[in-house]
Every structure is written in structure tokens, then in C-alpha cells.
Amino acid sequence: MLRKFLAIVEDTIREGLAKKTILGMLIVSTVTIIIAVLLFQMDSVQKGLLSPAGEHIKNGSNQPAPGLMGLSVLEYVWMSISMMLLVASIFVGSFVTTGFITSLMEKGNIDLLLSKPVPRWLYIVGRYSGAVLIILVEVSYLIFGLWLVAGLSLHTWSGVFLASIPLITLSFAGVYALVTLVGILTRSSWFAMIIGLAIYVLASIVVPIAQWIDKLLNGDTGGGIVTTVAKIFHYTIPSEGMGGALNEVLLSKELHSTPLFLTTGLAMVYVAIACYAFSKKEF
């Protein structure tokens, strides 16, 4: 079973390497690292990065913003980069990998795969794992590269920066579970990507909107039926709250594990539903 699983993962990676998009992502990462090397050579940048963030970013009353107390500009910049990467890996990552699910079901290919002594769910789990592995490598390459550049130029080595590697990968894995399910149901990579990402975005903004509607309807803030429904929706979509968790780890060095467990659990549930749907499909 393990050998068959690895064969499917390997095939997914091969298919990925044959695609220009994944190579493109590696090239963009490399360029980013090179730019960082050049920037970090400059004295002014070095000095600026090591100074306390509070000196530069003030709130309305010209006091350092409370969240930035005791943080260097570098840490602040790092947090911004990580958040950008989180969003990019979810969106760009889904764009690049959604084809793995639909190419599996192409005519002429699927018949042969299903004729092999392999339980159907293994194909989904294998393809899903292959895609997550590719994103893990991409994210690790970029973040580890930047961390190395920063460490070498500024002589500060903060291990907590590297925590964004598993957190960002997990965020992608959560959303990709959703994309996988939609991909199997619709057999279209465009639908999978657009619908999957739309659900993710909607779930992340739906609670404040629902609270606003409840306020309009019955004047009170939150707690209405619309808000309750919105919250249920919000909490059944994976990767919601992962941005917050990442932020917290990088700024206050505290890890709140709830979003991590929730995302892991939901990703497993969505992949399981995708496997079930796939096992009932005819080709």
C-alpha cells in the first residue's frame, strides 16, 4: 500500500515538474531571495531593520502602536511577508495544483488507473499529498532562503520566523482539501479553483457582514440568528483563523493551537468526503 501511495505522490510531483507554472513559482522565489540579498547589503536597510518598530510606526497620538512594543522593524517586516505568503500560497498554490485532481479523471487515464489493484481513495489521498508536498517545498525554499539571508546579513537568528513554514503549508492544505472536493464533484479545474477559493473568502468575511445584518434587523449587535448561521459556516471551512494564528506566533511568540487543530480536522473531513464522492463516481 505504501509503495503504491508513494508511486502516486511521485507521479503527481512529476506532473507538477512538467508544468511551467511550478517552475515559475520557483523562479519567482529565487528572484525574491536575490533581491533580499541585495537589499540586505545596504547599511541603511540593515540599520533600519534592526531598530525598534515603534520608532517608525506611530498611532494617531504619536505614540508607538501598542502591538509593536518591543518589536524590531525586521520582525514587523517578517510578519508582513509571512501574511502575504499565506495569501499567495493559498491563491497561487490552488491555481497551480488544482489540475492534479482533474487530470486524474481525464478520459483514457482514469480507466487505466481504476483497473489497477489500488483502492480508489488512495488516488485522491496521493494526489492531495503530492500537491501539499510541492507547496511545502516551495514555501520552505522561499522562507528558509529569506531567513538565511537575513541571518547572514544582520547576524540575528530568530527560529520563530521558520514557524511560518508549517503554518502557511497547513493553511494551503486546508483550502486545497476544499478545492479537491469541488474538483471531484465538478471535474473542472476552473470551477474547483474559483468555487473553492470563493467559499474560503466568503467564510472569512461572512461573520462581520452577518453581524451588520443582524444589527439592521433587530438593532442589537451580534448574537442574532444570521450571525449564528454565519459563524457555523465560518467554523466549518478550513484555514479560517490561520492568518490570526500566524500573526500571533510571529508577534507575540505565542501559539494558539485551536485554528491548527480545526484546520487539520476539517481538511481531513473534506478529503474524506472527496474520497467518498470519488469512490461513487463512474467513468
Binding site: 503504491k4 506532473e15 512538467a18
Partner: protein, 308 residues
């Protein structure tokens, strides 16, 4: 002889309501171990659907079936089945060798066995020189040969081939036929789907002809191609008067001989006596066997089969 594959009252309906397609409407057949079995039928007859039911690619709507002693679609049976789908496509970025390695691993072959099987199946299908060439550079016939190699990678007991000679040149077809006969001699069971009747009749032990999801004819190639008492006679110095006095159905053929049909051998002999009495020279008498293709065309033209 043990049964490799059998089904009883197999029904497969795609879709439902007004859009329902009745691809199989109660098909019962059985394939013995070690034989070459061919499924024939016009486009849309349900041949591919039957194979897909066996392999669990689609699910049967009613009826029962077993393959190598397990229910249709069972993972353990698939370990001993090789399959060449129609219109198969392999990932274009892989080489022939990599395709075989991938499907060999999925078939559960261990590493050492896998490499020797890759070499062996490529040799068997005449593809050894193309092992390290990307599949996207293959011609159609080469793809088909690779497909056959792939179907044999796990040393299957039951080999199911859907149009195996599709797109292959005459030499290649002959080679594929030879491979199939060789496999049969090794004791393998071969289940063939084809429209190329002339191919099938050369190697098949048994044939089932299907149309619109139903079996319309089955038997040995021998039995299906026997056409009663038609003889081809080549006559010298015969006059139309002599012939008309014979009172038999005549059909002139391209080489100048005549096809005559008699109800019994006695009638044939009476005709010979009569012709000799009229001093007609009989140059040759050949009992005529129709090809399976003739039988097939007859079957579908003569209204034996009612199309709904």
C-alpha cells in the same frame, strides 16, 4: 476448465429518466480459463461497458458477475488482470519505461521483479528501442504497443484488451496476434473487444456478438462461419441452357466460377451427375466457408436483429 469470468443477467443503465442509456440489457456469458474470447459488435453495442463493469470502473445496475473468483471490481482480482483501454492516454511527460514503472508499481510489483518485467514486456511488444523516449513522441501504433506492454506488466492471468490493434500497421497487427497466441499457450485467458473481425477469427476460440446491449449470437468461430451447403464450382464449356435446367440458385463470382447452394450433399451429387451427363467439365468444387465478417454483416443486414 475453470471459469475466468462470468456474468448472469448483467444490466447497466447510464443516467436515468428520459436520458437513460441502456448499455447492457441482461448479458450472460462465461469465459473459460486459457481461451481467447472475443466480444464483437457494432459501435455502441456495449462492449466497453461490459469490461468497465468487470473492472469496477462503472457499477452494474443489476445482475451478477464474478472475475477470477471475486466479485466485479474487487481489488484482489485486479492484481491478476491486465487491461488495455480504448483511446488510452499516458502522461506525455513520461518515457515508455517510466509509464511501465508507474503502472507496475500500482499493480503491486516489487522493485526487482518490476525492472525485469519492464524489459520483458518491452521486448515482447517490440518497443525496447523506445524505452527512454518521451511518450509524446510516440506514433499511434507505438502507443498501442506500449499499452499492450502495460497490460502485461503484472503477468496477468486474465488480459482484457479493448481494440488492441487499433491504429497498428499490418505487420504490427500480425505481431500482436502472435503475442496473444503465445500468451494463450502460456495458459493466460484473453478477453478481446474488436471490430476487426478478420483479426478475431484467426485467433479466437469463442466469439460473442452483441448489439444494443444484448447478445445476438455466440459460439466457436467454426460454428459461426459455417454457412450450410454452398459450393463454389469452376466449370468448363457450360451453356446457359444446361445451367438453367439445374434449378439451383447461382451466384457468379469474380474469378468466373459459380456459387451454388444445395440443400443436401445428395442434391450436389445429383447436380454433378447431371453436369457430367451433359459433358460439362468440372474443374474444381470448393465448399465455401464464409468469413466471420460475412456472418457479421449478414446478421446486421438481414433483420435477424431488431433495432429498437
Amino acid at each position: 476448465m475453470e471459469i475466468a469470468l462470468s456474468c448472469d443477467g448483467l444490466v447497466k443503465t447510464y443516467g436515468s429518466g428520459t436520458k437513460a442509456v441502456h448499455a447492457l440489457q441482461g448479458v450472460s456469458l462465461s469465459v473459460s480459463g486459457g481461451e481467447i474470447f472475443s466480444l464483437l459488435g457494432p459501435n455502441g453495442a456495449g462492449k466497453t461497458t461490459l469490461i468497465k463493469c468487470v473492472l469496477g470502473i462503472v457499477f452494474t445496475s443489476a445482475g451478477s458477475g464474478s472475475v477470477l473468483g471475486s466479485p466485479f471490481g474487487s481489488v484482489s482480482a485486479k492484481e491478476h488482470i491486465g487491461y488495455l483501454p480504448e483511446n488510452h492516454r499516458y502522461p506525455a511527460h513520461l518515457t515508455g519505461g517510466q509509464v511501465l514503472r508507474y503502472f507496475g508499481k500500482l499493480s503491486g510489483l516489487e522493485a526487482a521483479k518490476l525492472e525485469s518485467q519492464i524489459t520483458r514486456t518491452l521486448e515482447l511488444t517490440g518497443m525496447s528501442d523506445w524505452r527512454d523516449t518521451k511518450v509524446k513522441k510516440y506514433s499511434k501504433g507505438m502507443m498501442q504497443r506500449l499499452g499492450l506492454a502495460q497490460a502485461l506488466i503484472n503477468e496477468p492471468q486474465l488480459i482484457m484488451l479493448d481494440e488492441p490493434t487499433d491504429g497498428v500497421d499490418p505487420v504490427g497487427r500480425k505481431e500482436i496476434r502472435e503475442v496473444l497466441v503465445r500468451l494463450k499457450n502460456e495458459g493466460k485467458t484473453i478477453f478481446l473487444n474488436s471490430h476487426l473481425l478478420s483479426e478475431v477469427e484467426r485467433i479466437s476460440d469463442r466469439v460473442v456478438i452483441m448489439d444494443h446491449g444484448k447478445i445476438v449470437e455466440q459460439g466457436t468461430v467454426e460454428a459461426l462461419t459455417r454457412t450450410g451447403n454452398i459450393y463454389q464450382l469452376k466449370l468448363g464449356n457450360v451453356t446457359p441452357e444446361v445451367l438453367s435446367a439445374l434449378h439451383v440458385a447461382l451466384l457468379p463470382t469474380a474469378d468466373g466460377s459459380l456459387e451454388m447452394s444445395f440443400l443436401t450433399v445428395e442434391e450436389l451429387n445429383a447436380a454433378i451427375d447431371y453436369l457430367r451427363g451433359q459433358s460439362v467439365l468440372i474443374e474444381s468444387i470448393v465448399p465455401k466457408k464464409s468469413t466471420l465478417e460475412d456472418r457479421f454483416v449478414d446478421l446486421f443486414k438481414s433483420g435477424d436483429i431488431t433495432h429498437q
